[in-house]
Symmetry: C2
Subunit: 470 residues, 2 copies
Amino acid sequence: MKLYETLAADIALSIQEGVLRLGDRLPSVRQASASRDVSPSTVFQAYYLLEARGLIRARERSGYYVVGDVRKLPPEPEQASQPDEDSSPVDISELVFEVLESSKMRDVVPLGSAFPSPLLFPLARLAKAMASSVQQLDPWSTVDDLTPGNPQLRRQIALRYRADGLHVQPDEIVITNGALDALNLCLIAVTRPGDAVLVESPTFYAALQSLERNGLQAIEVPTHPREGMDLAALARVLERHQPKACWLMTNFQNPLGSLMPDEKKRDLVALLSQHDIPLIEDDVYGELYFGDKRPAPAKAYDTKGLVMHCSSFSKCLAPGYRVGWAAPGRYTRAVARHKLTTTLAASAPAQAALATYLEKGGYDRHLRQLRHTLALQQTQFMEAIARYFPPGTQATRPRGGYFLWVELPHAVNALTLHRQALSHGISIAPGPIFSAHQGFTNCIRLNYGHAWDARTEAALATLGQLVQNA
Amino acid sequence: MKLYETLAADIALSIQEGVLRLGDRLPSVRQASASRDVSPSTVFQAYYLLEARGLIRARERSGYYVVGDVRKLPPEPEQASQPDEDSSPVDISELVFEVLESSKMRDVVPLGSAFPSPLLFPLARLAKAMASSVQQLDPWSTVDDLTPGNPQLRRQIALRYRADGLHVQPDEIVITNGALDALNLCLIAVTRPGDAVLVESPTFYAALQSLERNGLQAIEVPTHPREGMDLAALARVLERHQPKACWLMTNFQNPLGSLMPDEKKRDLVALLSQHDIPLIEDDVYGELYFGDKRPAPAKAYDTKGLVMHCSSFSKCLAPGYRVGWAAPGRYTRAVARHKLTTTLAASAPAQAALATYLEKGGYDRHLRQLRHTLALQQTQFMEAIARYFPPGTQATRPRGGYFLWVELPHAVNALTLHRQALSHGISIAPGPIFSAHQGFTNCIRLNYGHAWDARTEAALATLGQLVQNA
């Protein structure tokens, strides 16, 4: 056993014995190096090993934290999905609405919710930014600064791209009513009714609803629960079909939580470019990473202007403001024009408020806090799943975002479970709403973006019991 | 000559001689009855006659005002348009954008603008309402009160319907990102690509752009410049075609300014109902009436839930906030669902701010002032057109809104005029953008919703000279 492995084993033992507990911060590399009398690089190696085993996790600018004992967590699913790779019309919207509407009561434990808790957001500071910016709003801006949107806000967004190493000019940015609007506008900019579009399997239900509304065919591509869309499968599909676009999430995919590795993102962009297929990249969770830096979007590897990068402030900062954007590369003009003929522009006061908030600073501090909270809540959720769910349960272990994908024993029917859970005052998102073929019948998506408390734990215990009984 | 005619002639003389001048308030009926020693009903009859001749105009709660000398105004066009009444695909969007984008510079005299001057709106009071409401915003409302929208705002809108004698429940109201969003959502709720939709001739260019984007055919129906869509022609078209919807504006139509009389609205609804065709009613200018009460929307005559009434606050109160609504009758659920899958919801702070503003009162006072201003500016515009434009020029005389439709001598090409005007720093809206067939080549729409000043008058003089030269 090498020195760093010994050190790692020693720390793992402390975690198992409860000496180091969930949420505890590990000594810094310098401290550990001094106290254990080993080189800093040995400590680094030990920490990397523990991180790879899921016991600890690095958090940006604040060192390593205990996130649990991986052996106590449910196993991760390891198989990519196996959709039939054919194109098919989509008829899922009714089911999605049925599920979403039934879960809308405010007193339900919102494990099926699409949003994190709004209490996680700096709403008071945003209100201040709104109050000051709306009083200074240039009257002419309300009729002149329509789409592409508030120039200050577009500049702030471009600066954030720049900080992440991407060169996206303010002129390429079109402000939208949230990311969903951005995604829809990108979709209609590059498709006509009857066209086929590549999506993940499982995929975000709103993507399926967009395809359905626009009379588009879906081609579901096998997707790995940890690494996202399977590129070999994608290459295979591209031999057989002529899709007009690919719509996916590279970072903390909804519902899997998968994170596509950088080199895979690069290969994805290259593969699609070969076929001249635009990529509609939904990156609304990219800022909610638990690691030490923001994972790059596929847009970072785009050299031909084919990647249409979409994001928003709805999941990270300002739910309800409905401000998002697209950076649609060569389709920027087409997207802006569709924006003008559908909703004209995003709300001017909301745009101005966000520009002011971003200019004043504090967004990154807020994000660090938010990531911390979500990472901790994820571990608490996973441990509860391990505790309360029957053997045969698998769960993804996302490195960001606020969704878990749980694969239950095959006997479980997620739609039945959804109804049973609701009757116990608990919402979940059943697997079939994430697939044009209504597959994933034994899977559910859980939201850990709400405060961990006794009520949430009781809800998971109830859910585990319902699964057990199935 | 009857007594009231004598009285009317006397007052008309005072106007021609300049004793009574533009903007002057006439004596109240009671005052005139006493000073002239005639019965109040004689005064009423005289005032009605003068109003019918366009010399004076009633303004809500404040009596009659001098609006000009009708003999000095350009004649009104009297012929309904004569489109070919066939269905045809739409390919107009490119031209519309070309025109709109070229006119976007802020230093241009904005006679082609779609908006009234933002200086006409109570932006400071709105900012106060925003500041107070955003600080009290319930965090949960930002994720729970998505579509159909803020309950307080929907209640305020329902109250305004009630005050106008319409029974629209808050539950029927879907808040949207402005009226354009509402209209689009209504359109996609009742059509599929390839369907035909009835529109006016000329019609609002954004309606044509919506049809084009959604792969719909347009059937242009003859439309009278004062009374709106020609119902005999509509009946004829309904014999030959099976349109899936009719999209029009009953009140102060854009671009004509036409106002459909009440009985015609009733007949319109009855005729469409017979064929079970939904009416998408764009009523964004209804509040900008110059008469003594708000003209009813066609929705007032709807008994079958077929009228989808759309409006917004963008033209009357809060440009840039992007808050409008649809009251889509039997299609309410479908419209709400399309809203959820396109942009999810309108901006929560903007909705809350408007709800607060409406609750606090002051909207009606603001509207009275706004109508006053627009009515006066219309007269100033019309008189300038009479002064500066060559004989053969006709102009509509709308009883509300802020658009004039000008029919120029047939030799004039409106697209050429548009380019010439732009080179003189003046924007106009050329007729061809209001028609799927790019007709109305000798017509233009002018916006009188901006302050009347020397610059505006000089612009009209220049425009008149360009027309003269054509």
